[in-house]
């Protein structure tokens, strides 16, 4: 191996960040002024670099762009938001809030490509209805109508399609929504994986409803409506690649009643989110960044079923990142914490609700975790797929 060459991409990355390259000297501070430690200066520089406009450097889409972590965020902001930019889109909440003839509506869409299509506790059909209903509900709207678009692969069994559609009908009935328009496309064998579904939905908001992760403030409480990570872990195990068996079912459910109950209790709800891809951790990071606050979570207070926790331990995955499909994360006024918890627990879906942490002011933009072991660490956004560790 005498031949040698340079990694051009790396040299370019260094040049691009030339101004951020850490100087090993302390910056000059006038005497008598307390200057931040060298570590703190590095941290500040990193925050500055992170706050910069995201770029998509890859030449092609990789699976990481769809995993719900930082790569997804960069793609959405640098490509979609950059081109579509408008005030309704910009908050990047679960649904857009639009006004028609004086009525405030929530409008959202989601595509479903889950594999396997059928899994313990549900199938792609329930998921496609519940996911969109939940996005409307957490936006403070009463879900009304859905669309359903199907992309089917040549050769897909009609019996499977019937089963999926029956699940959708049942889920829609349970959520009190109607599927009022739709579309069907069939692509050649091998050009899709069986069946993909897109649903869009609209719901009506109560007048005066002000929700958003940016409104979280120090002293607020952070709650989840039940044990986390069941859907994601069920799917991972159902794929059969891991040879792990556990009695787990997806938590897919429509949360419109749970949400309505919480809103009715009038407990100073600041924001609600449906903890899907990227899990609870991703939502808490959105809160910390949007509101410029610290989110402090107590690991021992986060409800996780033993089966989920065990599988996560084996795979080296943090349950905080594992997807749910029927779990609410909510930020409420700290003065109403107990009423909020009681309101959630009064509904069967929220029977195991818990207060998992609170909002603090420092350090802004970070999610801190007090670990069960008694230490402290941060919880960042995931980079791509949660990759299992090898040893």
């Amino acid at each position: 191996m005498t031949e040698q060459r340079q990694a051009n991409w790396a040299e370019e990355a260094v040049r691009e960040h030339a101004e951020d390259v850490h100087d090993h000297e302390l910056a000059q501070y006038p005497s008598g002024v307390e200057h931040p430690s060298r570590e703190q200066q590095v941290l500040d520089r990193i925050e500055k670099a992170r706050a910069r406009k995201p770029k998509v450097k890859e030449e092609r889409i990789t699976l990481a762009h769809g995993a719900g972590g930082k790569a997804t965020q960069s793609l959405v902001e640098a490509i979609f938001l950059d081109s579509f930019r408008n005030p309704l889109l910009e908050p990047l909440e679960d649904a857009a809030i639009v006004t028609a003839n004086g009525t405030s509506l929530a409008f959202t869409t989601d595509s479903y490509v889950v594999s396997p299509l059928f899994f313990p506790g549900g199938d792609i059909g329930d998921l496609a209805v519940n996911g969109t209903v939940n996005d409307l509900a957490v936006s403070g709207a009463k879900p009304m109508h859905l669309s359903a678009g199907f992309i089917l692969e040549e050769g897909f069994p009609v019996a499977d399609l019937r089963r999926i559609v029956a699940s959708m009908a049942a889920a829609a009935a349970a959520a009190g929504v109607t599927i009022v328009t739709g579309d069907t496309k069939v692509v050649q064998r091998g050009k899709a994986d069986g069946c993909y579904i897109n649903t869009a939905g609209v719901g009506v908001r109560e007048p005066g409803c002000e929700l958003g992760v940016a409104t979280a403030r120090p002293g607020d409480a952070v709650l989840v409506s039940g044990p986390v990570g069941e859907h994601g872990m069920t799917i991972m195990l159902a794929r059969g690649e891991l040879d792990i068996e556990a009695e787990l079912e997806s938590d897919t459910a429509s949360m419109h009643e749970l949400v309505a109950g919480l809103m009715k209790a009038d407990v100073g709800v600041r924001a609600m989110r449906d903890a899907t891809r990227g899990g609870v951790a991703t939502i808490l990071n959105e809160v910390a960044q949007a509101a410029g606050v610290a989110v402090v979570v107590n690991e021992d207070d986060v409800p996780v079923r033993a089966e989920v926790r065990g599988a996560c331990e084996l795979l080296g995955i943090d349950p905080l990142y594992v997807a749910c499909e029927g779990r609410l994360v909510t930020i409420v006024d700290g003065a109403h914490t107990e009423e909020a918890l009681a309101a959630l627990r009064s509904h069967p879906l929220g029977a195991e609700a818990a207060v998992i942490g609170r909002i603090a002011d420092d350090p802004p933009g970070l999610v801190l975790l007090n670990t069960g072991f008694g230490g402290t660490r941060i919880v960042d956004l995931l980079v791509g797929d949660p990759l299992p560790r090898i040893c």
């Binding site: 260094v14 951020d20 850490h22 670099a49 030449e59 891991l242 670990t371 660490r377 560790r389």
Partner: protein, 387 residues
Amino acid sequence: MRFVDEYRDAEKARALSAKIAGLCEPGRQYKFMEVCGGHTHTIYKHGLEDYLPESVTLVHGPGCPVCVIPMGRVDDAIALAEQPDVIMTSFGDMMRVPGGRGSFFDSKAAGTDIRMVYSPLDALKVARQNPDKHVVFMAIGFETTAPSTAMTVLRAEAEGIENFSIFCNHVTIIPAIKAILDSPDLRLDGFIGPGHVSTVIGCRPYEFIASEHGKPLVTAGFEPLDILQSVYMLLVQLAEGRSEVENQYGRVVPWDGNQVALKAVGEVMELRPYFEWRGLGFISHSALRMREKFASFDAERHFDLPGVRVADPKACQCGEVLKGVLKPWECKVFGTACTPETPIGTCMVSSEGACAAYYNFGRFSRERVRQASRPEPVTIETGARRE
């Protein structure tokens, strides 16, 4: 949860923490290296440093299998994946490791067939299912994973599977520790020995560290209390003026290692004269290759590889971080040009890499957080606790 919670007990941690503080001589600084990346991950994930007095520093060592793979080897692996009718397989950790021309993820997006597997046996399964393709397994890791690669090759031979080969990148831990001990710019007081590697090689190979170099070593488990207890055991040795190899991870690590596993590795693989380590350069007898007898399962013999060395970018200080000379945040490009999304150095790729662990878990000022994180506990009943 049994076998987990008892090793994460905050009560016991506080007791150990007090004993550790009591053992530290006033005014003396202690520097211990945890050799294994798994330990680094545990330390950051559980916030273990909160339990150590300021005079005890943990230095993160080179024992992260992904972090030590040089860029040239990644390029070679991608060149293999680009051969017609080849399916490349590897562990998930490898997918984002950058080579001179990009990572497996990039190569996959450009059209190669690279699949993530959980064990080499899964790669063999892919070979059985695709008889018209050639399946290569990119084998990485220390003595921990080498036995499973060896067993897989023996299985493939027994089954007469011909469309399967290994791109062998297995490395050995002892030469790496030697390289660190020989590094002039590092003063260590002792080692936290790698637990998983030791399940295979046992504790004997470390004896020279204690006897010749006078540094105590404690082989440690991977739960936070294991590591805290190992720090305590190291401090006891120092206080008593001893320098020995001790086994904290006796529940898993036999003193003499796993002879069956070692035999399998010895049957299939042999030491290379030298191998390049990311950041550490060429180290003699530090890696394994396939024996001549198993040439038909050796991807390096099967295919013509470019074998071009890629220079580490000048700004990248992975070498210093791997040797424990620099803390991750002291690297010039840490967190700006080099982040987990766009890692320049491999220490930023794997969750076991010191830089990624610090970036993902420890990127905050402990001073500031001490004030912020625990003023008043949440007092109300918080319901569903962990079972």
